[in-house]
Symmetry: D3
Subunit: 238 residues, 6 copies
């Protein structure tokens, strides 16, 4: 992976706050290191208990701006109605071809969470394959693109993949800006418990890893290394 050019990261979220809660601290870190980040938001959260679609879009655009990410909204059938159809995957493949990211981030595939999360995760996984196949009729106007890696993020602790190696990233220096990014979603802050859950989760993981705060991603694919010189160290404090 060439290190002297700007990395490009494409992140999909089902609802306006999923990305910020699930991997916001990591993205702040990457943005700080010069990555180009693009958010794709698959609904306006219009089925949630709090917040109008307009309000939620504004909150989300503000948060993306704080992260330094560009943003677009896709119509995937509406909040709570996102299914993992091939048509959705095809639409995602189109965005992947447009954005040509190095890294792709998506919600985890765990089924026992908000069903939109898993639907988006699956459609991203499949869309990343479709983006490579040059013969797909409706995608032909866009150049085929192969990403480097797809990683999953977990919006809640219950959505963390089981039985896969976690990739843990130090976000100690991002903790304050991350709180700010999450707080953009004012309509979801009736209580601050959801924000606090994320910070507490990050603190627990950081203490395990020997840093202050951390956030994890999960790889669905085997990982390729040039040599052990670039191998990540293991988390072995306990």
């Amino acid at each position: 992976m060439s290190e002297n050019r700007q990395r490009s990261i494409l992140v999909f979220g089902a609802h306006p706050d999923d990305i910020e809660f699930g991997c916001g601290a990591v993205l702040l870190k990457e943005a700080g290191e010069g990555a180009r980040i693009h958010f794709v938001i698959c609904s306006r959260g219009e089925s949630g208990t709090n917040g109008s679609p307009e309000q939620r879009e504004v909150e989300c655009r503000t948060a993306a701006e704080l992260v330094g990410a560009s943003i677009e909204f896709l119509d995937c059938g509406g909040d709570s109605r996102i299914e993992s159809t091939r048509a959705i995957a095809m639409m995602f493949a189109g965005v992947i071809r447009e954005q040509k990211p190095d890294l792709l981030l998506a919600p985890s595939l765990v089924e026992n969470q908000h069903p939109d999360h898993c639907s988006v995760g699956r459609a991203v996984r499949d869309g990343a394959r479709l983006a490579r196949y040059a013969g797909i009729e409706e995608l032909k106007t866009k150049e085929a693109h192969a990403i480097e890696s797809l990683f999953y993020y977990a919006i809640t602790p219950g959505a963390e993949p089981v039985g896969e190696t976690a990739l843990v990233i130090d976000v100690s220096e991002q903790i304050d800006s991350w709180r700010g990014v999450m707080a953009c979603h004012a309509s979801q802050m009736k209580t601050r418990r959801y924000l606090e859950l994320q910070v507490s989760r990050s603190r627990t993981l950081g203490l395990q890893a020997g840093v202050e705060y951390a956030q994890a991603l999960w790889a669905g694919d085997a990982l390729f290394l040039d040599s052990l010189n670039s191998v990540p160290r293991g988390i072995r404090l306990f």
Copy 2:
């Protein structure tokens, strides 16, 4: 992980040829990049069908020399008698304190293989913890040491861990020297099928990864990354 100093790798094998067959190509690559490598061999293969203990020790020393590794033999009860006792783990912890490696490599923990392999794997895993605890009486003469990472290698396809993310390393340039290292174990070459199994396995994995030949390791711990800049790419050809 500081990249401008010599990495130190400590590798445990149950029998004289396990290391070469299970992760020899990776070690050749690391040696070529300047790593300091030390082999610990836990038996002289004296229970195998072919080869005397003396012959097997010579073969193993020759192979280590080709890799550029230093080598020592430990008495762990004898070939086919190695158990994963705490006494063995304590002995391994002692070696770890002496060698102070960055990386530790051990046979995988899969139970349905030669029982010595799994025993050594478990004792290395436990020994790596014991090496850190400063109060252990019989280890007090040696300074406590915390490794960076423990990775497992699989001596046969059936020993590959299931449900853990594989770390795949390109060994295309090492394939010839690796054949040479494996061939040092002349007593085990009655037929060349065992060597050929390893090369065929490596070729299959390489073709999956988009290179000529590859060899995999498995991490038992979550992995810690400074940022996504250093994240390995995923294997996604198919």
Copy 3:
């Protein structure tokens, strides 16, 4: 299972080359022992990077002929658009009732592969149940049929089911004819790496099993034996 009549095998593939790459050697062996084999191909590979639909159909028909199999193409929505809907399963159930196979072969259910593969696998699994239920309105013109067994094949190493017992079949004598069958897919042979991957995978498995070349299938159901006289032997070389 009566051994003195011709076995009937029905094989589903998502794309024109899936069957040949995933279980072609096994089918050549079965054909050689007198089995009646029928291919159902669920697309013409029209979304692939290479090869026109017409060319791919011709390649596939040629390959089927080499295997000695009859063949039909189904319209399942098009290459890269095959979903595991009940309508597809119902269509597959209709074919199962027509062909009345003893054995059914389908792509594995692993999700992290070309999404069409998994879709076809699931629809075959469900279709095999629907084929038995006598009251299904749109299938009433065809006699209900219960297959003996459903086995899954893996088109790539990454599609091999984890945590299920593999059934490994010696295909040493079929290796040359299998190469020939795979080579029929000339449009996919821009490089020979895909063919070589299959041969290398088969060689690796064969060396594990103590033969020259082998190919595996996986059973999704518990297996029923009249007695241990007919139990397959275990693979225990290592």
Copy 4:
């Protein structure tokens, strides 16, 4: 597997009644088809709540006679004291070399059962490997032997392996003789609930398989088939 000679089956049990309860019906069937069967009993059940060691040995010898099996008792440290040490595995390897079985049966490896069961299962698994290695000093007086297959039986429902393909055998015709064999263990029949558990379990499995009564074994290894002509049918009634 040559079918025109007498099969040889070696079965290990931790306690005097384990074999009869866990796979007695299968063994009665095999004996009826001409198999030579040998029981190795690793304790005299002297730590159980009911029955003296002398009584339990007599019960076990009577049951073995009903099955038509020869029998021997090994001293493995005593009932409730059997550990899976290499010394025990070595002793088992010696018996395997003496008996030269085609098939080996052992208690399942599930840990959450009577600890002796799992210990014997592990030691049999390891002993089957040791039996093959020609260089093991203390076994040199006995010719090395490679078995064809190792299968596990489950003494209780909770001991059934999870995530492995079950091999289900029709024992409908053996149900009465099996009851008789289990009833030999009169000291364990204070209530008939344990015998009834086995019969009820067998009935439940038989109804699933479409026969009257059935008993399952589990293979720890991949299975090797000459062709699909000899493949067991799947259990697919529901």
Copy 5:
């Protein structure tokens, strides 16, 4: 959980007899303890081999009456055509909002069973989430509702979830009334084997648990306890 008011249980079944076969004995017990029970039947079994839709509806209504449950039939596309779409989940969410149950019961999510079973299970799982989100447009006429618990039942032994803790309920006193409830489905009693399978399964489980008959449910979520005073005891007879 307040114990001095009537509990409310909502149960979904794909076909007219699924509930009775899969958790009928548990429901009889709960009804006997004063629970209010409502059945939702998602087809009239019109694709089954035996019984007309009219007959099956009558059978089901009779069975529900014996249980003391109210009942409704939903149109989910028809027997053998039930898919786990968001539209179905939305419809189920509507019923959940109407019925406002404490407990929700659904068929297990195991895929290798009648595909309607798994579809209904998934749609109930997702519907239980949707029932809570206040902003969903088409559900706005009904008050949002959060259930206490969702448990899964297994219609056949092959549908029992693997790797999740079973919750086992003593139904010894319900065995006769349960037989009666199952027998209401006269059209499915061509042979009594299906009924007998359930009774045999229940007997096997009861013998494991130290009672006469038992039936199990499985929780998809972590369980919340006020204290260990209310913790269920473990099943540890063997």
Copy 6:
């Protein structure tokens, strides 16, 4: 489970602080509800980096007193030398017969943690079975005893069992007293990070469960319920 008598809980810990860190808050709650609690500590932590054995015993006795638990120390070979032998399980069985607990708590069986933790967990699991068998010679002076339940606690997040249903207990009111109990282990408080890890973990779990703080246990056995009236509610906030 009779609720009008004092419950008895027996807890095993490998080192002087394991119980307090792994399940201290739960025990404080149980003690507050009148349970009789007994600690068995299997070493004096003499191999740890900080604290003399004498100091650690005093710390542990102080903590147990704060919990209101009686305490005893067993010699299991010494800190970092505890193996899961049958002799240790037999010793534990003796304590179980003496204490006659209703509930038994032990460290989880996850292998990738301090090896003493897993060893103690396994020996408790096996000891709980041995405690029931009336014929065991060296235990005959003590009356056989069958516990009601065995639950596992996780000393670190990495030790939490995967794929088993968690039982989550509200410890919001115990959080301050729990901090006090953990703080008794002054020698382990060089930094307060270990204590903070536990509190942060408990906070994260509490936020998931809708309370302030929570702690989890895991059941190794199926759970037995009289009826759904006593079933714990599911954790379903997200």
